[in-house]
């Protein structure tokens, strides 16, 4: 599943708005000037980050899942078995070995994967990292009640039986039955020399090794595991370790037991990394704008009101990025409640996407109209599906009232009872409570009213996703968003369109085409030929788009700004963040 929390924050700070987009991709990335890039990186100094968040979402490797946390923590103190390449540009999405010596050896139609650990890698306490530590680290995700929030692919993929309720019989290291432990021991196997780990999967997973870029598969010493409290002070395997973790800041210093010879990826430059929590956003922006702390980088996008000062004024001398993210906003149709395809399609065409994007501040900083559920940043799997957005000649940014009306007229005879409900009592949309709703709801109501559709809103102020994921509480439509976990639509299409993927808000299993669609999804997951797999994902995206199981809204942009003392920054596509591993400071 996705990096929900941080992405949610992005959406919220961008005014939760946004929802559509003209122009295809606005690729206007503004990066640190070319001149500074030629400087030789310097070692030493303190690199400072500023955030208004009260803390990182998680430090425990099993629980890290949000993009910013992943980029930050894997750059500094958590090593994973494999890693994305730390370079600028699209090649960054390819895999390189990290703690492992290779990027994984699949066998048995990608149902079995083998990784060998690199010698010389140690924990922060000086102990060698062994296969048993990795296996223990993997076991932890199975206890979702203690160590929640991390990616749970492993629970679905490992060859471990499930009980009647559908839960894995293995419940993690803290409270498992003997049978559960035995099943886990059969699925994750360490070699006699404790250096090679083998994963046995219950299904073919061609891109299994991408999951290993996540700290959820990383070594944890059983003797040091503190359960929930491990989140405060996880043991470092990277070049930095945690010195202080308070409500004011996270301070990282050099890890004496890390050595460059066993780490092919990281070259630590600063002596110290200081991440400061809880700043007022205006203060944060002013610190960077006035270059008051030259070695500081802002961890959050600037306030919308400050964007011009950063991006359109020559007085700001620091660095900046304005980039597309892999985040895609959408509104899920609850197909069980809205089975009429004509009405779903009519809502898509009637929606005034342009007004909503303009309200959000326009395409320069806020995003682009969605053309596929797969993000354009995933260059392998992305193709405009032809149904959504500009490539469809019937689609218009401000809404195509004629087309929508024609669909509604069809619906009048095709699904009369639903037509009556939609045009009288109306449909209800679940949305997260937000201050922008007072402005966006009238825009939406007016747009849908053009074809006689009545919409009601159900703002939910706490526990949004648990509420809408509860089938008994979900209404006709639910606002949502998603970001790929790695550049493979296997982390988008299965989660969003199949229940076992874990985030299917569309309730689409009763649809006529669903059995065939589901089989095709399983086939695509198991396809290890990447080009063939990509073709299958593109077809599935197109097929699902034509069914309007979701109503796509906007691809989101992000901005990053930093002071004049921070050097070496570039946009790192795998997590949609600057590549923290390459930053250095001049002063």
């Amino acid at each position: 599943m996705s990096r929900n929390t941080a992405r949610r924050k992005v959406v919220a700070s961008l005014a939760t708005v946004a929802l559509a987009a003209t122009v295809a991709m606005v690729t206007g990335s503004v990066s640190a000037s070319a001149a500074t890039k030629k400087l030789t990186p310097q070692t030493g100094g303190t690199l400072t980050f500023l955030t208004h968040s009260p803390r990182l979402d998680h430090l425990d490797p099993t629980r890290i899942y949000t993009g910013r946390d992943l980029a930050f923590e894997t750059a500094y103190f958590v090593r994973t078995l494999v890693s994305f390449k730390h370079v600028a540009g699209p090649t960054s999405t390819s895999l390189v070995p990290d703690l492992a010596t290779n990027t994984g050896v699949p066998s048995n139609s990608a149902k079995q994967w083998r990784f060998t650990l690199r010698p010389g890698s140690k924990f922060q306490d000086g102990k060698d990292i062994t296969c048993a530590d990795v296996k223990y680290g993997v076991s932890r995700v199975f206890d979702q009640t203690v160590l929640g929030d991390g990616p749970t692919y492993m629970i679905n993929w490992l060859d471990i039986p499930v009980d009647k309720s559908g839960s894995s019989i293995y419940q993690g290291p803290f409270s498992s039955s003997a049978a559960g432990i035995a099943a886990f021991d059969k699925a994750v196997i360490c070699s006699a020399d404790n250096r090679t780990i083998t994963f046995k999967l219950g299904m073919s997973v061609g891109d299994f090794n991408y999951l290993l870029t996540y700290p959820v598969v990383s070594p944890v010493q059983k003797a040091h595991d503190l359960g929930d409290k491990y989140d405060l002070s996880p043991e470092a395997t990277g070049p930095y370790m945690i010195k202080e973790n308070t409500s004011a800041h996270l301070m990282l210093v050099r890890n004496p037991n890390w050595n460059k010879s066993s780490d092919p990826i990281r070259t630590p430059y600063p002596d110290q990394i200081l991440l400061n929590y809880g700043l007022d956003q205006q203060v944060q922006d002013q610190i960077i704008l006035s270059d008051s702390v030259p070695n500081a980088m802002s961890f959050d996008a600037p306030l919308p009101t400050n964007l011009k000062a950063f991006f359109e004024s020559s007085s700001f001398k620091g660095g900046k990025l304005n980039e597309d993210t892999a985040f895609v906003g959408y509104i899920a149709f609850n197909v069980k409640k809205m089975p009429c395809l004509q009405i779903r399609a009519a809502m898509y065409y009637a929606r005034n996407a342009k007004a909503l994007l303009d309200y959000a501040g326009g395409p320069t900083y806020n995003g682009s109209y969605t053309t596929s559920l797969t993000s354009p940043l995933n260059t392998v799997d992305y193709a405009a599906n032809g149904v959504w957005g500009p490539p469809n000649p019937d689609w218009k940014p401000e809404g195509n009232v004629a087309k929508a009306q024609a669909l509604m007229d069809e619906a009048k005879t095709a699904c009369p009872s639903e037509y009556k409900r939609v045009t009288t009592t109306g449909v209800t949309i679940d949305v997260r409570q937000s201050s922008t709703l007072t402005d966006t709801i009238p825009i939406n109501k007016a747009a849908f009213a053009r074809v006689g559709i009545v919409v009601n809103y159900n703002p939910i102020s706490a526990g949004y996703y648990p509420t809408v994921m509860n089938a008994s509480k979900q209404n006709d439509l639910s606002n949502s968003g998603w970001s790929q976990d790695w550049p493979n639509a296997s982390t988008v299409i299965p989660p969003l369109y199949t229940p076992e993927g874990g985030f299917d808000l569309s309730q689409n299993t009763g649809e006529a085409i669903y059995p065939a669609f589901h089989a095709a999804v399983l086939k695509a997951i198991g396809t290890s030929n990447r080009a063939a797999q990509a073709a299958q994902w593109k077809a599935l995206d197109k097929q699902a788009a034509a069914q309007f199981w979701v109503l796509p809204t906007l691809g989101i942009k992000t901005q990053v700004v930093w002071g004049t003392g921070v050097q070496g920054a570039y946009y790192w596509l795998p997590q949609g963040e600057p590549d923290y591993a390459k930053l250095w400071v001049t002063k």
Binding site: M1, N4, T48, T145, F174, D231, H249, L279
Partner: protein
Amino acid sequence: MLTFVSRRLVYAAITLLIVSMAVYAIFAILPFDPAALTCGQHCTPLVIRANRIKLGFDKPLWEQYWMFLHGIFAGRTYGVGSAAFHCPAPAFGYSFNDNMCVTELLQQKLPITLSVAIGALILWLIVGVGLGILAARFKGRWPDTASSVFVLFGTSLPVFVTGLFLLIWVSIKWKIIPISFLGYVSVFSDPIGFVKLFILPWITLAFAFAALYTRFTRASILETLGEDYIRTARAKGLSEKKVLRIHTFRAALAPIVTLASLDFAGLIGGAILTETIFNLPGIGQWTLRSVYEFNLPVVVCTTILAAGVVIIMNLIVDMLYAVLDPRVRI
């Protein structure tokens, strides 16, 4: 005196008990499933159910409340097996958002809030009462006019405006007191660092409060000066200076003690804006965030703290009054 204090402490305990029940009741009637708030976008029903059992939300409300009370005196253990951990008494619960026992967190945050509140209190009392005395002493003349300008600004500028102004200009742009990221330092270990860290928050709060206190002190002194006993003091042939110093201030400042102690209690409950602007992770910031996150144990704890401080401050005021005013006997 001893009976008075002990009786009042019993009342305080009863009040706090009722406050804690009220907070529990309020959270119980809110239309949220607290277990569903423990995880995010991929919160499966299974995980929600497991968390509900782990946190005791499956139990009847009275039993949850009983567990809470029991934890205060006996500590509380969460989780099972090797993942279990214990919060020693007095345990106000466990904050899953912070991965720490609430009491532990309170120990971190209270010194910060106390530092903000005590420093600001001292500053605003000096400035506010001082200006109030000047204004009353020179009523209608320029010190009175000048202080009324101060009062106008102090009462009309919101804390977030003065706070942001000070922080952005004094700290960030002019770098007179450069912004510090080193976190809380105790006054005992690093007095200079302590003052640097807190001086702007103190000024921000004191500016707003001092204005009120100037006005209040001035009014109180002028009112006291109209008392018959002041006329008596003058009739004795006392100089005006002595009339003010000996006869007026003590009587005029007694109500300020009440006001100051309640304002102080309010700040302990949370100088939310000031703590937020200056990023001081104290009680106020913590409470605000916890309400936002529906973090029940923290909200219960900070509510009880706020109520407790108000009760204790009232007790102290009553005792101070007994010292100040011989007519009051406790």
